[in-house]
């Protein structure tokens, strides 16, 4: 029912297809434009926003700097409050834990809170294979799931769909999996949201087991935190008898008080609100209130690999707000699918290689999917220097090919550049050649039009100025630094 990112082409190819989809580009430009404006307004009203960013980054760094101790404390406090703590090295292990809990309670369906980590590990597909239906309950996730589609944004997975497309998906698919959409469904967002409410309510009321992620996990107290808008999260966290929460090990916050800056940063960066409608916190089991069996799965799945990278580990500070996606000029044009992962956009371009390692052509193309404009770093509430990490990961990709028996043309070109730039006399000789070419070309036109070969990547869409007949260096030497210039 859901699509898969497996086998996606490298970014430039996927981007080319996305760029050709004018409807998609229109949907994205509209949506990212709206959210940028909202974010700018609510961030602008916080006087000490930069101090908050520093504090948010410091809290996450402090948790990461002795992550082993933090996790052990988290485990202790959770266990003391009645939760069962599991550890999972990878996706398969985490999925198996969830399936085992489902089997122990003989459930054939679970309701799900929107969670990036369960998408990362492919939990829905694993549950389906085990005969358990997983119902996404966040509106955008529902749209994606019903549409047999892939998420394209961290916060708004269906950002690539407009209202008319959503109406069509609801009309066509809701009836097949539960309460159908009303026949008179319009494409008004309020009406569509109402249809989702009716469709999901029966599932909420009967579900015996829920699966969630967590935005934060407080080591000192064992408190998990889910930040949401629609109340679907509260439904899942409150009504079923059994709750399984899958928590990436980087979600730890050392103490309750240190959650404060993060709670202030996240909604303004994410939905552009002063505060999101609902934040739920729970600590193990609360007698007489909510699920009376609570499991927490602490997941690695590549996070320790990212932690071992001294430049890249800052990416583990990410609180999944998606501000970097919304301000990214590349994301705005290509959308999320081109990144071939549940983590798209600038953060995805660093997180995927950090979690998976380099070596796969699709993953290796991601650090290059950026013009390094720096808008992402500026917007990031926990100050992840994404351009710095992108450049660092590019060097890892290049280094992984240093032993190739047949080097790539690009590698040969850069070796040549290294040779030329080592000494100005070598560079000067090349410039003389360029000057000769310039004299020839400028006889025809001051610009170069379409040319074949590697230069086509430039000249297919842009003119190239013809080289000047004299380089600056030649001018300086001819005119004694301009002093003898006519």
């Amino acid at each position: 029912m859901t699509g898969t990112f497996v086998g996606m082409p490298a970014f430039p190819t996927a981007a080319r297809e996305a760029l050709a989809d004018t409807q998609l580009r229109h949907n994205l430009a509209h949506a990212t434009g709206v959210i940028r404006g909202k974010r700018a307004a609510v961030v602008g009203e916080v006087e000490n926003w930069e101090d908050l960013r520093l504090a948010g980054a410091a809290v996450k760094d402090r948790a990461l700097r002795d992550l082993d101790e933090q996790l052990v404390r988290l485990e202790e406090s959770l266990t003391a409050r009645g939760a069962v703590v599991h550890w999972a090295r990878d996706a398969e292990e985490a999925n198996r834990i969830v399936i085992d809990v489902a089997r122990a309670h003989a459930v054939d369906e679970v309701v799900k809170v929107k969670s990036m980590v369960t998408q990362e590990i492919g939990l829905n597909e694993a549950l389906e294979a085990a005969g358990v239906a997983a119902w996404e309950t966040d509106l955008a996730e529902l749209i994606v799931q019903l549409g047999g589609d892939l998420p394209s944004h961290i916060l708004v997975p269906a950002i690539h769909r407009n209202r008319a497309e959503i109406r069509e998906i609801f009309l066509r698919r809701m009836g097949e999996v539960g309460r159908p959409a009303p026949d008179d469904l319009t494409d008004e967002p309020a009406v569509l949201a109402g249809a989702a409410r009716e469709h999901l309510r029966e599932k909420f009321l009967r579900a015996r087991m829920a699966v969630s992620g967590a935005n934060f996990a407080i080591a000192d107290t064992g408190t998990l935190v889910v930040v949401e808008s629609e109340g679907n999260g509260r439904m899942c966290l409150t009504l079923p008898e059994v709750l399984v929460s899958i928590v990436g090990i980087e979600k730890v916050v050392p103490s309750w008080a240190e959650l404060d800056p993060l709670i202030r940063l996240l909604p303004r960066s994410s939905t552009g609100e002063r505060m999101n409608p609902y934040t739920s916190t729970w600590t193990g089991i609360s007698p007489g209130d909510g699920p009376q069996e609570v499991h927490v799965v602490l997941l690695d799945n590549g996070r320790t690999r990212a932690l071992a990278d001294d430049v890249g580990r800052q990416a583990l500070r990410c609180i999944r707000c998606s501000a970097c996606l919304n301000v990214c000029p590349v994301y705005e044009r290509t959308g999320g699918h081109a990144y071939g992962s549940v983590y798209p956009g600038p953060i995805g371009a660093i997180l995927n290689p950090l979690l998976k390692g380099t070596g796969d052509p699709q993953t290796d193309s991601l650090p290059y999917a950026s013009s390094l404009c720096g808008a992402c770093f500026e917007a990031c509430p926990v100050r992840i220097d994404i351009p710095e990490v992108l450049v660092h990961l590019r060097s890892k990709v290049v280094d992984s090919h240093r032993e190739d028996r047949i080097p790539k043309p690009e590698a040969i070109a850069f070796r040549g550049a290294a040779w030329a730039f080592a000494d100005e006399r070598r560079l000067g000789r090349l410039e003389k050649l360029s000057g000769v070419a310039g004299k020839v070309l400028r006889r025809r036109s001051p610009v170069v039009g379409r040319i074949p070969g590697p230069g086509a990547a430039w000249t297919d869409a842009r003119d190239l100025p013809a080289p000047p007949t004299e380089s600056f260096r030649e001018w300086w030497n001819r005119t004694d630094g301009g002093k003898a210039d006519g």
Binding site: R62, R201, R274, W282
Partner: protein, 208 residues
Amino acid sequence: MASARDEILGRIRTALRDVEPDAEPVLSPPGARVPEALGLIDHFAERVADYRATVVHCAPDGLATAVAAALPVGSRVVVPAGLPEAVLAGITHPVRDDGLTASELDLVDAVVTCARVGIAETGTIVLDHEPDQGRRAITLVPDLHVCVVRADQVVPDVPDAFPLLDPVRPLTWISGPSATSDIELDRVEGVHGPRHLYVIVVGSAPSR
């Protein structure tokens, strides 16, 4: 074979060989100041109303009347076991929550509760689900949530709320009715949680 726990902790220790821990907790930057022209309570009321919630202000002796006015005539109203008499007085036929099932709650029109903290800057009310607020489910399933906040429970900003909250209790931070921006990032109020939030602020702000 090593357990997943030992293996993950081992990988972390290897990854962090070059890193020294930070013993000192990070101090939070101060929160926003209350606009002087408005004052704390009006600032709170304005920010709650920004989310398209209804906000009214009443004196302590007008509480029952205010509660009654918040509830449409003939509403089926669930209340937590510990709801104060002064609030209860405004409800004609309260259904006291004694562990109603989710389906039973779905047949109820409204819920009336107290709160633990109000946060002015963000227009947030926080429930800690003490007996005057009840189980989490009762403020979730009904479509109208009437929440009584005492003026002396309102604080300026989020950092002022943290020390007042006990994380060991379940907490629900509520900022307006449920909402979504999932369709073209157009904000729509009213999805799964209560579609209507009605906040009654009782009394006046203590002089600070």
